[in-house]
């Protein structure tokens, strides 16, 4: 009896040690690219075919932590990001009205806003919005806007989105006429969040940004109007 218990104990210990060494969480040998994530959201009930024109604001806004100097942020990929978005949205059939051509007689159906976060543990909350986008003169052509406005993100629960330790790009499609004056909010029609590790070569990062932006449109076929 004792001998058998001893044998069982040795076998059990051997197995437990083997299992523990191998760990209960296999990492599947993931590469940097495997951590890239593309999330897209859309407001239900929107007929995107009613939108024919867009304006892509020409600045990738940097969302920074309090006290962080935005000028320290890497801007090498901004032009590529804007160009990749422009190419995709044009492919979906939208006509562009350049930011400098917008006036009261030439208003786009939707405005595309691009922002990025590249800081650590940043909590991205809806309240940030007007502070970053209020500079766009185009808002003044629509009635009702003023200070204290924000974007409405029903898909971001609890007022806080994520904590980041990586780089993220946000693309937001706003219909400036779809507003909630009582709560002073602009309802977003579509949004994309791209998130990934930034510890990579410049060439790889550039390729991954392009692929992720393309993927955000590919997985949003309802945006297509042509």
């Amino acid at each position: 009896m004792k001998k058998q218990l001893k044998r069982l104990l040795i076998l059990s210990l051997f197995t437990i040690i083997t299992f523990s060494i191998n760990s209960c969480y296999n990492d599947y040998g993931l590469t940097t690219q495997d951590y890239d994530l593309v999330s897209t959201f859309f407001k239900k009930g929107v007929d995107f075919k009613k939108f024919q024109t867009f304006t892509l604001l020409d600045t990738v806004m940097r969302v920074t932590n309090d006290g962080e100097d935005p000028s320290n942020v890497d801007t090498r990929y901004d032009n590529q990001i804007l160009n990749d978005i422009e190419r995709n949205i044009k492919n979906f059939g939208y006509s562009q009205i350049r930011q400098e051509d917008v006036d009261s007689t030439n208003l786009p159906s939707v405005v595309i806003l691009v922002s990025s976060v590249s800081s650590t543990n940043y909590a991205y909350s809806p309240g940030y919005w007007w502070g970053y986008w209020g500079w766009y003169p185009g808002w003044s052509y629509y009635p009702g806007y003023g200070s204290g406005w924000g974007g409405y993100y029903p898909w971001y629960p609890g007022g806080t989105v994520y904590s980041y330790t990586t780089g993220s790009i946000f693309i937001e499609m706003v219909d400036p006429t779809d507003i909630d004056t009582e709560n002073r909010r602009v309802n977003l029609q579509w949004g994309a969040g791209i998130n990934g590790l930034t510890d990579d070569s410049s060439q790889n990062l550039s390729r991954r940004i392009k692929e992720a932006i393309d993927q955000s449109f590919k997985q949003s076929p309802y945006l297509r109007i042509n």
Binding site: M1, L8, F19, D34, Y35, L37, F41, K44, W155, Q215
Partner: protein, 207 residues
């Protein structure tokens, strides 16, 4: 509370009752996901083990305790579709899904056949499952770890080798851990089910 009473009763009964034979066994456990667990991880598992002690308190009936560990995981590239009130969406990226299940069960078995011969047994276990559910999605990691009440009907065979004290043991068990807590997706139904096919060695002795 009910679980504790059942486990304690079985333990006390097995300790105090008159015993004829004691079997200890060690098994390598394969897992086959079922129901909701199969939706989360379709893959089968070949990593798992169990240890068990059984004491006979009647000629053909044993009671005992078993402890196990089943590991399920799968890398999945399929996008996640989100359908909520007011908005919908898609999340694409590499997911790695994990479930680690640790059953701790009090068992009761009925045997057909003599001690040193080939024996078939039927029975089952009742007890608790500690289940760790994890989803790695991009750089995010979501976890939900809960204790569950569970049941495990079981059937198996004991095949004696040479001396009649060592046996090959093969068992099939259906594990069902009742819902407890919330899944990582916030789902109220957080139950888990899986089949396990267990192979190993059993050591028998008279006490």
């Amino acid at each position: 509370m009910k679980t504790k009473i059942i486990i304690l009763s079985l333990c006390l009964f097995t300790v105090t009752a008159f015993s004829q034979e004691f079997i200890s066994d060690f098994t390598w456990n394969f897992g086959f996901t079922a129901d909701k667990l199969n939706e989360y991880i379709p893959n089968n598992s070949y990593t798992g083990f169990g240890i068990e002690g059984r004491r006979f308190f009647q000629k053909n009936i044993s009671g005992g305790l078993s402890l196990g560990w089943n590991i399920f995981d799968q890398r999945i590239a399929e996008p996640i579709t989100i359908d909520q009130e007011g908005f919908g969406g898609t999340v694409s990226g590499t997911q790695v899904r994990y479930v680690n299940a640790f059953p701790l069960l009090a068992n009761l078995h009925y045997y057909v056949g003599k001690r040193k011969d080939f024996r078939i047994f039927l029975g089952g276990g009742v007890g608790v499952y500690y289940i760790l559910q994890r989803l790695d999605l991009g750089v995010w990691q979501l976890e939900s770890n809960n204790w569950h009440f569970g049941l495990a009907p079981e059937a198996g065979i004991l095949v004696p080798l040479g001396d009649g004290q060592t046996h090959i043991i093969v068992t099939g068990r259906y594990n069902h851990a009742f819902s407890s807590g919330k899944s990582i997706g916030g789902n109220e139904d957080n139950s888990y089910s899986y089949w396990s096919l267990n192979f190993g060695f059993a050591f028998s002795s008279r006490m």
